[in-house]
């Protein structure tokens, strides 16, 4: 397989003006991967600052309800409230090693923006976050958090004024300011080497799960479930298990149902296309124009997906399913009441699938759900959607 390719997917579909930056990033990344000083500092930030390792919680009530053994990987307990910090600490530290003096990022739900703002604050790098105008209104709490952390928010008023337009705007900024700026991309999407860098930094999730479940159960799980928007938490937990006999399921946002056209399920309902630097699955019309997407979870509301997921779908190694807004909202309330854990609406998609899939497992079956983030940010939204009572 060619570097930067996942089967036929991935690649570097960018204007020539960006190529020098991607090549610099590729070379730097190859170097720092083998740099013990980088590893030492990255490891310190993950453990002493961010709070790794995160627990793998056996959920007694959930297990009783579902009739199998259910574990949650608690990325909701990572500093910042989501898995995003694994990647932002890694990339921000890398930016320091590259001598960059400024970080830019895109954000949809605001979780990646918050995680970048945190990493920028602790590592002393100014942060500017591009965020669709629509999302700045939907996610006012995270806007306030980012500002408190010292980041500057740049509202994006072009296109659909959501995440994809924020990525477009960040890429345009990057191409003008390559010398001093690192673009801290938040998911395993975009041109090579971003999908690889993000996957590697997020794979700490799966490596910990492997160690934790072997300690606890003496064997690997039967099934691992994770939600997929761009796909970074999913690739992070799946990757260390790709060669094992473990069923892997990625759960996309089915929105109001695949038939409604209002969803974000690029793998289950999209087709192959080039978008934001990579060949992958994409929600597009017959003329190759990118479609507007929908999900109750802003972090899944994106028309494309990381290229490695595209390959894993084609090879059949990972199964991709979609759950609807309604199922996710049900899971959001269910997990809150059953286990006292309020999941992010994104992660609630994975929980919803587990509720569906547990029927296939016997009582000794083990299922691990990646709880990629906590749901405080969604409480007000859910209350609105459900007429006052979350």
């Amino acid at each position: 397989m060619k570097a930067g390719r996942y089967g036929v997917y991935g690649g570097q579909y960018v204007p020539e003006t960006l190529m020098s930056a991607l090549i610099e990033l590729e070379e730097t990344y190859e170097r720092i991967r083998q740099d013990p000083e980088f590893s030492r500092r990255f490891s310190w930030y993950l453990h002493e600052y961010a709070g790794r390792e995160t627990p793998l919680t056996y959920c007694e009530n959930l297990s009783r309800d579902l009739g199998c053994r259910v574990y949650l990987k608690r990325e909701d307990l990572l500093h910042g409230g989501a898995h995003k910090l694994n990647n932002t600490l890694g990339q921000a530290l890398m930016a320091k090693f590259m001598g960059k003096r400024r970080l830019i990022a895109e954000t949809g739900a605001g979780q990646h923006g918050v995680a970048t703002a945190i990493a920028g604050a602790v590592l002393g790098l100014p942060v500017e976050v591009y965020m669709g105008e629509v999302d700045t209104r939907r996610q006012a709490l995270n806007v306030a958090r980012m500002e408190l952390l010292g980041a500057r928010i740049i509202p994006v008023a072009s296109g659909t004024r959501t995440l994809k337009d924020a990525i477009n705007a960040a890429m345009r900024d990057w191409v003008e300011n390559l010398r001093e700026t690192h673009y801290l991309l938040g998911s395993c999407v975009g041109p090579h080497p971003f999908p690889q860098i993000v996957r590697d930094f997020q794979s700490v999730i799966g490596r910990e799960v492997r160690r934790q479940i072997l300690e606890r159960e003496g064997r690997l799980p039967d099934t691992i479930v994770a939600c997929v928007g761009g796909g970074s938490n999913a690739i992070g937990i799946f990757h260390p298990f790709l060669d094992d006999d473990v069923r892997l399921v990625g759960v996309e946002a089915g929105g109001e149902g695949l038939a409604s056209g209002r969803h974000s399920a690029s793998l289950t309902a999209g087709s192959v296309g080039v978008f934001q630097g990579a060949l992958s699955y994409l929600l597009q019309d017959g003329d190759g124009q990118v479609l507007e997407t929908h999900s109750v979870a802003a972090g899944l509301d994106h028309p494309s997906v990381g290229p490695e997921h595209a390959m894993l779908k084609d090879t059949g190694r990972v199964r991709y399913e979609a759950v609807t807004d309604a199922e996710a909202l049900h899971a959001f309330r269910y997990l809150s009441r059953t286990e006292g854990i309020i999941p992010a609406l994104e992660s609630a998609h994975a929980v919803a699938y587990a509720l569906r899939a547990a029927d296939d497992l016997d009582k000794d079956g083990i299922i691990v759900v990646n709880l990629s983030g906590r749901g405080d940010k969604d409480v007000a939204d859910v209350a609105n959607l459900c007429g006052g009572a979350a």
Binding site: P15, A21, R172, G273
Partner: protein, 269 residues
């Protein structure tokens, strides 16, 4: 190399000037306007016309062309309809070389080979795909060539000598040098060190014509670039002039033609 592109650069060279390459967004504000615009720009002195193919996510473009792209999509422009409009213009005697300037995905959705055949039939001469660097564009370039189209690749100030040679090897109509890091859009100044940059690129591309673009908007800038390069590309300034005319309730075609006419005069010194 297609007859028309080679001839246009050859003629300009013989006249001791750079060719004026005018970029317009196809379908902005409507394909009917584009149909009137092409002959008007030819008459105004454009040596080559780049037809921007609208795309929902134009990452290499600044706000002016982003808005034009949105307007064109809103008015129903598609790649297929743009090619039909080009074919219709050729049917009415348009002789200026046309370069389709697109992002990869609309062409991919059309099918690369089907697009190449249809574009050639429609009288398109060259194709520039903004987000296909040489790494990703070799196969498409070969398909374009086999349909008689000239592939045009981009170069940037950061392109290494090896990349310059590679882009030139894959390009046949001309090579498009992005004069500065950044996105499309008019600026008042010219990048420092343009003559050095042009000299460095020329050393790698041999006899392939070199057009310089991004940020060039005024006759003064055109005059300056014209001394260095074989072609000078103006885009956002034309698109903005049309946008302003439409906003003021005027016909955008004569407004664009007047600007192109002054830019064409500037290539003559």
């Amino acid at each position: 190399m297609s007859g028309r592109l080679g001839a246009a650069f050859g003629r300009a060279r013989a006249e001791g000037r750079a060719a004026l390459v005018a970029f317009v967004e196809a379908g902005d504000p409507s394909l009917a306007v584009t149909g009137r615009l092409l002959p008007a720009l030819q008459a105004a002195g454009a040596d080559v016309i780049e037809l921007g193919i609208p795309f929902s996510d134009p990452i290499a473009d600044g706000p002016v062309i982003q808005r034009a792209s949105q307007r064109a999509l809103g008015a129903g422009a598609t790649l297929a309809k743009v090619l039909d409009a080009a074919a219709a213009a050729r049917g009415e005697g348009l002789s200026v070389p046309l370069v389709a300037f697109s992002y990869a995905n609309p062409i991919l959705a059309f099918g690369v080979a089907a697009f190449a055949r249809r574009a050639a039939e429609a009288g398109i001469d060259g194709v520039l795909v903004t987000d296909l660097p040489p790494e990703e564009g070799e196969a498409a370039a070969a398909t374009f060539v086999s349909s008689g189209l000239d592939p045009v690749f981009l170069l940037a100030p950061s392109s290494t000598p090896a990349r310059i040679r590679r882009a030139a090897r894959l390009s046949s109509g001309f090579v498009y040098l992005v004069s500065r890091p950044g996105v499309t859009g008019a600026r008042n100044d010219l990048p420092e060190g343009l003559p050095d940059l042009v000299a460095r690129v020329r050393a790698g591309i041999g006899r392939t014509p070199l057009a310089v673009g991004f940020g060039i908007s005024s006759p003064e800038q055109v005059r300056a670039v014209s001394r260095e390069a074989d072609g000078v590309v103006v885009g956002s300034a034309i698109v903005r002039t049309m946008e302003e005319a439409v906003a003021a309730g005027r016909d955008p075609v004569p407004a664009a033609a007047r600007l192109v006419s002054s830019l064409a005069a500037a290539t003559r010194g």
